[in-house]
Symmetry: C2
Subunit: 188 residues, 2 copies
DNA sequence: ACTCCTTAGAGACGATGCGTCTCTTACGGA
DNA sequence: TCCGTAAGAGACGCATCGTCTCTAAGGAGT
């Protein structure tokens, strides 16, 4: 029997966990199933991750790499923000609400890193826009910077159905742009 | 042995569930424990609620009644909104993140009712403000109406520590009021 | 007052799945 | 070649879910 080791084995384990996650969701993912899919025993999993939650988080990081890639710079503030929101929506769509809810319940420490990174991304985008003269100032409160992304995350957490296409544009046009451009929001 | 029945028994069951929820949180709440605390058997619980999640939701409704009481009307838009946010924060504080996360994971259908009600409350508050002349118009997109409450919920869901007092005022002054008054947001 | 019928109270039961433990054996390093 | 680490496999104990079973309390009906 060929026996896997080290990084090679680890990749197989994480792939198995990811596949299981996609097939069964978080609530129904069992360590037994992951081990079986990887043709190994549970101990091999528990030797690396302390519990199901850690395994799933590792599988996600392994599969999707960095939480957020590079910072969009399209030359238009609106398009930049839309690009960020679109990425979030795509990411969430592949995971599904079940996974996010499950992780949220069991891994409360998952978020802060994401939040600070998001905040940084938005700050950069806003700075670019201010340099172009699109908006009067890049000096914007953190809550405003993250308002659109946080609202999107909120909607995705509670939405039962896929988000309508209008959701992203509404967040940008009704919320974000009015706040950073210092202009009245459009009325409905 | 005195044997409880009907509404009387149901109240005892729901109180037991609530106490257990406060003591152990959602993740550690077991049907056995609730039954034992109410001095009865599990079947009595399962005869009324199909699973743990339904029992907990029923216990919450029983304890805290309607999700939102009356609509604040202080004569000031800012104070009205702050009052709503304060109520949300209080409610969440008594429940704790564990309970909310757990329910979110197991009862995805919990939200829509809350959302529409929240939307209605904010619409009324805004209408009053417009009638007083505090803001130019009550014709505000739904996403703007619910922006503050949704952002607060988002922060509470992800916050590890109790919210700082400034969170509520920041949501009102940096986000909500600028959006509905059609004026620039303050800079940080 | 007597009977019946629902269901409370109590707990056994099977199933599931976690996380631990044990055992054998492949294989890389010295 | 020898040895030690860890892979592969699965048994194990424990917790808890949700179901089933049994006895008897106490209203409802005559």
């Amino acid at each position: 029997m060929e026996r896997r080791r080290g990084a090679e084995l680890e990749a197989v384990l994480l792939d198995a966990a990811w596949d299981e996650l996609m097939e069964s969701g978080y609530a129904r993912l069992t360590m037994e199933a992951v081990a079986a899919r990887a043709h190994t025993g549970k101990q091999v999993l528990y030797r690396r991750w302390r519990n199901r939650a850690e395994l799933v988080v590792a599988a996600m990081r392994h599969r999707t790499g960095s939480i957020i890639g590079d910072i969009p710079d399209t030359g238009s503030l609106r398009d930049d923000v839309l690009a960020v929101l679109q990425r979030m929506a795509d990411r969430f769509a592949t995971l599904g609400p079940d996974v996010v809810h499950g992780l949220l319940a069991e891994v409360p420490d998952l978020d802060p890193e994401v939040h600070t990174r998001m905040s940084g991304v938005m700050a950069t985008i806003v700075k670019h826009a201010a340099e172009r003269g699109e908006i009067p100032t890049a000096d914007v409160p953190d809550r405003v910077l993250t308002a659109a992304t946080n609202l999107l995350r909120h909607e995705m957490l509670f939405a039962r159905d896929p988000l309508p296409a209008s959701a992203l544009t509404s967040l940008v046009d009704d919320i974000f742009l009015p706040l950073v451009s210092g202009r009245p929001g459009r009325s409905s």
